[in-house]
């Protein structure tokens, strides 16, 4: 019982943490991964709250499709929130390959 509660609190804290991370992170790719983590935790929470249908939808849409469509956009535009960071990061943080 108590383990469930601890587990639940960790999940909730992780979710809020991931949300904050996504907002403050300058590297948009990491920020998007953060939203993916939110969706993943959300899907577990939905399952625990006895909503398996919603959990399935959130897992497919939130985790997979939303994340990928964000990544496609980032690939088509820029990876960093402001130009300054991009110069600082230089060559080492170029997108995947290319």
């Amino acid at each position: 019982m108590i383990i469930y509660l601890v587990f639940l609190f960790i999940l909730l804290a992780l979710m809020v943490g991931a949300a904050i991370f996504s907002i403050i992170q300058k590297d948009l790719l990491y920020a998007v991964i953060g939203t993916g983590v939110i969706s993943l935790i959300l899907s577990v929470l939905f399952f625990l709250l006895q909503a398996p249908d919603v959990a399935l939808t959130e897992a497919a849409i939130g985790v997979a499709l939303t994340t990928i469509i964000f990544i496609i956009t980032i690939r088509n535009t820029v990876r960093f929130e402001d130009e300054h960071d991009r110069k600082e990061a230089g060559e080492s943080k170029k997108f995947i390959n290319n």
Partner: protein, 231 residues
Amino acid sequence: MKKVLVLLLLVIFGVYLADVMFSLEFGRQVFTDGVRDFYLEKSPLDLKVSNTITAIVVNFRGFDTLGEVTVLFLATTAMGGILYKKRHAAGTRSVLFSSSKIVMAGSKILFPAIILLGVYVFIHGHLSPGGGFQGGTIIATGFLLMLMAYYDYSVNHNVLTIIESLAGITFAGIGLMGLVKGGSFLENTMPVGVMNNLFSGGLIPLIYIAVGFKVGAELTGLIYTALHEKD
């Protein structure tokens, strides 16, 4: 300055919202005269659908679902309009990277399994968790996997359009059929069968299958449109 102001406003708003929300008793909200009991009673007894959410999504509030698939359809249409360019460079992929052999072989094996899972999920929508949306999105992730793994993998856009249109017409047509038969729009006019059988629930599985095809085609088309735009 603006940041601080917005933050302050949000904190006030959040505290107020939380204050109001706390007067709800978590996990003890039971409505004596709400719509909930009606759905939970009619779904197994009248419609013979064991998954109440499916019954609500497809039958009781089926109109919402019709609107929802329209929203996806419109999103695809709007995206096409927004990203439209006069001289369309056909077949240019924006995300160009080659995957390793293992990924390619693995996704080839996984792809049919994912599609099968998706089909299973939307065919059994009235019996178990899942349904048209879930199955459709699972199918779309299957195509997504192939698009990611094979850089020259392409989906026939015309086929997608036709599937999408036909599924949409099926949904709206089933709805209008109820009207033609003298009932109301989207009314369940078919015999409902025995509960927890695959062939039960009357029109509900049929509609959910149409939704599954439509959502699958729409989401695949959406990703495809986004993926094939290169500036």
